[in-house]
Amino acid sequence: MIDAWFTGFGLLYPSALYLFVIPPLLVIAYLVRERPRQIVVSSVIAFRALQVVRGKRFGGRPHLNITFLVELLILCLAVLALAAPYRLRNRNLTTLIIDNSAAMQARISSGQSRFAAARQQVAEAIGSNANEIEVYVTSPEPHRIGTFTSTGEVMAALGHVSATDAPDDPVAIAGLFSELLGKRQFQKILFVSYRPVTVPSSAGVQSIVVGAPISNYAIGSFVVTRETLGAGEVHGRVTVANFSRSPRQLDVIITADGKLAGRAGGQVAPGRTAVLDFPNLIGAKVYKAQLEPTDSFALDNVAYATGPAISSVSILFVSPTPADGATLRSIPGVAVTTISPADYVPTQLPLADLAIFEYAVPKQFPDLSSLLILPPAGDPIFHFLLRPASDLQITAWPQTDPLTAGVNFRLLNLRQGAYFGLHSWMRPVVGGSQGALILTGERQGHRFVATGFNPLPYLGRKNLPMSILTLNLLSYLAALGEQATSFRTGERWIIPAGVKEVVLPTGGREAVQPSQPFSSTYTQGIYTLIGSGSASVLRAVNLASLPTSDLEDVAPLRIEPALEVSRSREIVTISLTPHLLGAIMTLLALEALLVYRRSERY
């Protein structure tokens, strides 16, 4: 493909040079058919004394015509541009991978953060030989931020980068190394991180470790749960870790909506974790756990949690037999609104925490977690396949599922009902002899449970397993006992149904679409999910990564020997066509100027 023109240059389409036959033809045409500009003058008497051009005939002496020469030059350049000339250059590519994960926020002895120190060391490490510097950062996931041609540009670009609250992902970083090493296009890879890298020396990877191992105390997790229906108080649980070489008294202070709610502490051995319980925290929207003493890595000394979504459960009971709902009112913390299926309208759903459809299904997909008791066959919304039976037999149930926890199904004596066939998106939880008896699934951020029997008439002391099962169903649908701090920095969410906007802890706002992944989770704090109207849900996002908090014993990043490659210096082609086109445009402008000046009327 490449025919060397002379050293360092070449033509992509050398056959285009045959077009250079055109300029001589143009010159011949010019000599034959050249017609100068005509000017009518009062008399030619004064011009007779001037030297008259003898080039009117072919073979006459051609005279200098700057316009023609410009056009000839433009044509030559155009022909050359068609040949696509290029220049060969050795690519001296330096790849810089700078760690901006949460651990780089830790402060070193000088008082500055590890990331700030890393930026300072980058300029010296790049050196002056690199003519192309490709810069990657590692958080929230390894990605390239640009390719630059000088150290100054790199520093300017890094000036806009900061360390995130998200932990690094050694697997993803190793994957980036694999990709880069596989390309063989670099002169060297510069990895600047708090984490050392072990790689074969021939791979051309230079590791710069920023910051020495330091002692650190961290909050590993912070969970607030409401364990029973109707309870006004919640239970907090904090995991603390001591990543130092000596035992340490670690205290945690809990504030609820800014008010002091609890304090607990304990002695934690080196390298160990401890759990601190706060059994009677007051109800609040936002809880904050602060670890004492503080240390040089402040991020993991704080954790957030949100209060359980609901303290009492409001149930919309839709049934042709309203008397069945009476038993629900006997449960503490449960309020029941009973309507018939004919009176049900979807706008009533937002007023409740969950809905129960007995012998009925909604006319459109409910925007609320719902329990469907013996739904009618052939409904157009859920498309249940039902097989009625007069004597239901339970044959299988999981032991650890929240729906079946504590329920002794052997004691259940179910009579008539229906078995479910296979469902497209709901999974069987409790199985019977001829099919599933309880199905569950999640859609559009809501939970749905369908039962092939009716548990409500048996609620009460007379049928304890059925009562436990009913409470399990309600707790599951009302999301009681959920971990409120299960979200970590750097992890993506799926946006729940109805949410249109997310307010970040930094105050920034992002418009979102339900069911779409949300990845701007690299800041620790409280995120507000705003739906239609004024409805909003708080979501706490924490670092919650003890491996990241372990700054005393940092695991090195290992690049497998299989990835060892021999580097080869890449030769890149730099097209000269843009320069030629620029020259052509300049010459066209010059010609236009010449023509304009000549067009001044005599």
Binding site: Q38, V40, V41, S43, F47, A49, L50, V53
Partner: protein, 299 residues
Amino acid sequence: MLGLPEQFTPDFIARLEQLRIKTRREYAGLGKGSHLSPRRGSSLEFTDFRPYALGDDFRYIDWGLYGRTDKLYIKLFKEEEDLLTYIFIDASGSMGFPAIDSKLEAARAFALAVAYVALAAGDRVMVRVLGGKNGMPGSAFVYGRHRIGELAHQLSSLTPSGEVDLAPALARELVSIRRAGKVFLISDFLAMISSVERALGLFTAANMDVSAVQILGATELEGHGLQGDVEVVDSESGERLRVVLGPRERERYRQTLSRLSDEIRNFCLRAGLRYVLYKTNQDFHAFFLNAATELGLVH
């Protein structure tokens, strides 16, 4: 006013009123006027004696001479007549180029200014146009200052056209002119010097008092817009010359035009003719009044 060009402001007309044409010779006119005529007449200008003849007016007998010679002689005086003024305007094609210079406009203004001076002084004026089309004045003399408007109207639609060879064209005009007088020839004189000399020589041979007015355009003199490889086309003959004009050529072109004007001027000086050169970028009022003497006009 009276259809005169815009140059004829009231102030300028008032200045023209104070001028009159002065010739280097005495010409016979067609009626009473203010110019001495070669005819014997009743002016105060004495010219000769002749012996008394029966019937002569006794008032013209020179009694002093009779006392000295004892013979009766009659004193003869010159007649004062009007001046026959001929104005020739070159309206050939060359007067239309370069169009930006408006050479014919200047020639028309010059002709009307001279005509007004003559008419205001009681002289007779005949305007003749060489070449051109439209606006050809009649072949008769006009008399009286009120006729200036008529002349202006006739010349207003005159447009440059055609090829005019001065010598033959003027020779034809002279055939139709029976009486000598003052001639104003207004042209760009862009012809071979020999042709110009022959043309002007015709008038001197016919005992005319000639004032030659050469009008050249400022753009034409400087050669503005002439640059590069051009083919110049003669506006009259259509002759084509291909030249390459650079700064050096333009300078030679200017020198050639200047030399042409100098040769015409020198010829006029040698032949006793009056000559002025008007460049169209000059102020018409100032130029005309300042050049009045050179044109043969006096206060």
